[in-house]
C-alpha cells in the first residue's frame, strides 16, 4: 500500500527517521562507550562522542587484567566459538540435506508418518530435553567437552529438514529422472543435481545455524565447565559478572567484538538472509 499524498509521505519519512534513530542509538552508544576513556563513561551529562579515542580499549578487553588468574582469554573464546560454528555448520549442511533428500525425493514406507513426527518435535521446548540430555551426556562422558554442542548437529534438526525438504520439492522431478535413466545412483543425483540447485536454501541453513551457535548461551552454560573452553557468549557473561558495574568501556568493547562479526556477515549475505527469514515465516 503506497503513501502518495505528500503529507502522508512526509509523516512516513519522519517516522522512519525517528525509528531509525531509536533502533541505531543503542548500537551507536555501545561503540561510542567502547572507545571512551574510563572517566568519560561516567560523565554526566553523557558525552556522545569520545573526547579522545581509545582504540586500545579493545586490546585491553581481550587481554584484560593479565595479572595472575584475573585473565579473560577472549582470543581463546573466539577460537572456540569459530571452531564450534564451523563444526556445527558443516554437520548441519551435510546431515540435513541428506535427510531432506530422503524425505523429499524418495518413497519408502513410513515416510510421511516420520515426517509428521519430525514436524511435531518442533513444538518441544528445550527445557524438556535439558535434564535427560545432561544425564545422557554424563553417561557418554561428554560434559565439560564441546561434543554436546556440536555432535547433535550432525544428526539433523527438524527445522532444517523441513526447510530443505520444501525447497527440494520445488526442483522439477524430470531433472533427476533423466539422471537416473543415465545410470546415476541416488547419491549422485543428490550430489550433482539437487545440491547445486539448492545453494540458496543451503545458505539459509548455514546462516541460521551459524547465528544460533554464535549466540547460544544456555547450551554452553550447562555443558562447559572449564573456563578456558568457554564460547564468546559465555565468556562475555563471565566477564560481566566479574567486572560489571565498573569498566563499562571495556565491557562495551567486548560486546562490540561479539556483535561485529555477525553484522559484517549480515552485510555480505543480506539478500539470502532476508529471504531466508521471510521464507521461514511464510512457509511456517
Amino acid at each position: 500500500m503506497k503513501a502518495r499524498h505528500p503529507l502522508s509521505r512526509a509523516i512516513v519519512y519522519i517516522l522512519l527517521l525517528g525509528g531509525s534513530f531509536l533502533f541505531l542509538f543503542p548500537l551507536f552508544w555501545m561503540i561510542s562507550t567502547s572507545l571512551k576513556p574510563v572517566e568519560e563513561t561516567m560523565a554526566l551529562p553523557p558525552r556522545w562522542i569520545p573526547s579522545s579515542w581509545q582504540p586500545d580499549n579493545y586490546w585491553k578487553a581481550v587481554t584484560h587484567g593479565s595479572e595472575i588468574l584475573g585473565y579473560t582469554p577472549f582470543l581463546e573464546y573466539g577460537k572456540n566459538t569459530v571452531l564450534l560454528c564451523v563444526l556445527v555448520v558443516v554437520g548441519a549442511l551435510i546431515s540435513n540435506s541428506l535427510i531432506a533428500y530422503g524425505f523429499a525425493r524418495l518413497r519408502w514406507p513410513g515416510r510421511d508418518v516420520l515426517f509428521g513426527v519430525t514436524l511435531a518435535t518442533m513444538m518441544i521446548p528445550f527445557p524438556i530435553l535439558m535434564v535427560p540430555m545432561f544425564s545422557l551426556f554424563r553417561h557418554l562422558g561428554w560434559i565439560g567437552t564441546f561434543r554436546p554442542l556440536w555432535i547433535p548437529a550432525w544428526f539433523g534438526s527438524a527445522f532444517n529438514i523441513f526447510l530443505l525438504r520444501q525447497f527440494f520439492l520445488t526442483i522439477p522431478r524430470e531433472l533427476s529422472d533423466a539422471a537416473v535413466v543415465d545410470g546415476c545412483s541416488e547419491f549422485q543425483v543428490f550430489r550433482h543435481i539437487i545440491v547445486p540447485l539448492s545453494k540458496p536454501a543451503l545458505a539459509v541453513v548455514a546462516l541460521f545455524q551459524f547465528l544460533f551457535t554464535w549466540n547460544d548461551f544456555l547450551g554452553p552454560l550447562i555443558y562447559l565447565t572449564d573456563q578456558r573452553m568457554f564460547t564468546l557468549s559465555l565468556g562475555l557473561q563471565f566477564y560481566q559478572s566479574q567486572h560489571g558495574g565498573t569498566e563499562w568501556h571495556l565491557l562495551m568493547a567486548a560486546a562490540t567484538i561479539i556483535v561485529l562479526p555477525v553484522i559484517i556477515l549480515f552485510f555480505f549475505t543480506q539478500r539470502t538472509f532476508i529471504q531466508g527469514v521471510a521464507v521461514t515465516g511464510i512457509k511456517g
Partner: protein
C-alpha cells in the same frame, strides 16, 4: 519395478538414517526420560527414584512456581502483542513505497542480530540508574527517571522495552507478507474511496493475518522460555524476584539445586501451557485468520 522400489526404499532409509538416530537419541529418548523423571526424585548423583506425582503436587503449592509463571505470563502478555504491533507498523512504513527501503530495513533488522548476551550487557549499561544514558535523556526532558532494574515495578517493563528492540525478524516476515498482498485489492478499495484506516482494517490485516498468527505463536513460545537476558540482567530475578521467570526457576531447580525431577515436572507443565496457548491461538485463528483460496 519391484526391484526399483525396494532399492528406493533402502536408499531412502539410508539418506534419512542420521535423523532416525538423531530423533531417537536426541529427541524421543529425552522426551520419554523427562516424563519419567518428572515422577521421580532425581539428583544425578543418585539413581532416579519414583515418587509418584509428588513433584506436581509440590509445584501446585509452590508460591515461587506461581510467581515465576505469573511473571512470565505478564512478560509474554506485554511483549508479544506490543512486539507484533511494532513489527507490523514498521513493516507498513517500509511497504509504503519509500525510497531507501533496504537501508531502513537493514537498520530495523540489525538489533535482532545482536547476540543475546551482548544485548543484555548493552542494556544493563543503558538502564544503569546513575550513569545510564536512558535516565540522563529522561531527566533532561524533565521526566522522572525510574530505577529500571532496581525497582520491582519497573523491572518487567524494562525487559519488555528492550525486547521491542529485537522485533526485526517479525518485521521482515511481515514485510514479505505485505509484499504478497495483491495490489488490485488496494486499487479496488481506492475506487471505493476507502480511507487509510479502512484499507488497513479491511484489506491489509485480513491478508496478513496468517503471518500475524505465525509471529504470534513464535512470540508466545519464545517468551515463555525467556532465559538468557534476565539471567544476566536480573540475576535471581532481582529486585525482589520481580524479574524471576519460569525458565530461570526451572534452570535453578535443575542445575543449582539439582532437583532434576522437580525441574522435569516444570518442563512438562511448560510444554502443556505452550500447547494450550498454541491450540487456543489456532482456534481463534480459524475464526479470524484469512487464508487465500480457502
Amino acid at each position: 519395478m519391484k526391484g526399483l522400489s525396494r532399492r528406493e526404499m533402502w536408499a531412502g532409509l539410508a539418506f534419512v538414517s542420521p535423523w532416525i538416530v538423531g530423533l531417537g537419541v536426541f529427541l524421543l529418548y529425552p522426551i520419554l526420560a523427562s516424563l519419567y523423571y518428572s515422577f521421580c526424585d532425581y539428583s544425578v548423583f543418585r539413581e532416579a527414584r519414583p515418587i509418584g506425582a509428588a513433584n506436581y503436587v509440590d509445584l501446585a503449592s509452590d508460591k515461587l512456581f506461581w510467581k515465576s509463571l505469573l511473571n512470565t505470563l505478564y512478560f509474554a502478555a506485554l511483549s508479544v502483542p506490543l512486539g507484533l504491533i511494532l513489527a507490523l507498523a514498521l513493516a507498513l512504513l517500509l511497504n509504503s513505497g519509500v525510497r531507501g527501503l533496504t537501508i531502513y530495513r537493514t537498520i530495523f533488522f540489525l538489533p535482532a542480530l545482536v547476540p543475546m548476551v551482548a544485548l543484555a550487557v548493552l542494556w544493563l549499561w543503558i538502564f544503569n540508574g546513575e550513569y545510564g544514558v536512558l535516565n540522563s535523556a529522561l531527566s533532561s526532558l524533565g521526566v522522572p527517571a525510574p530505577g529500571w532494574l532496581t525497582d520491582p515495578a519497573w523491572s518487567k517493563p524494562a525487559l519488555v522495552l528492550l525486547s521491542m528492540w529485537g522485533v526485526g525478524y517479525a518485521m521482515v516476515i511481515f514485510l514479505a507478507g505485505l509484499q504478497d498482498v495483491p495490489v488490485h485489492l488496494y486499487e479496488a478499495a481506492d475506487l471505493d474511496g476507502a480511507s487509510w484506516l479502512h484499507k488497513i482494517r479491511h484489506v491489509t490485516l485480513p491478508m496478513v493475518s496468517p503471518v500475524i498468527l505465525f509471529n504470534g505463536i513464535m512470540g508466545i513460545i519464545g517468551s515463555l522460555q525467556y532465559f538468557a537476558i534476565p539471567y544476566i540482567m536480573t540475576p535471581n530475578g532481582q529486585p525482589a524476584r520481580s524479574a524471576y521467570f519460569y525458565a530461570m526457576y526451572l534452570y535453578d531447580n535443575a542445575f543449582l539445586y539439582l532437583k532434576m525431577g522437580y525441574a522435569s515436572a516444570m518442563a512438562w507443565i511448560l510444554f502443556l501451557i505452550i500447547l494450550c496457548l498454541t491450540l487456543l491461538s489456532l482456534r481463534l485463528a480459524s475464526r479470524y485468520v484469512h487464508y487465500e483460496g480457502g
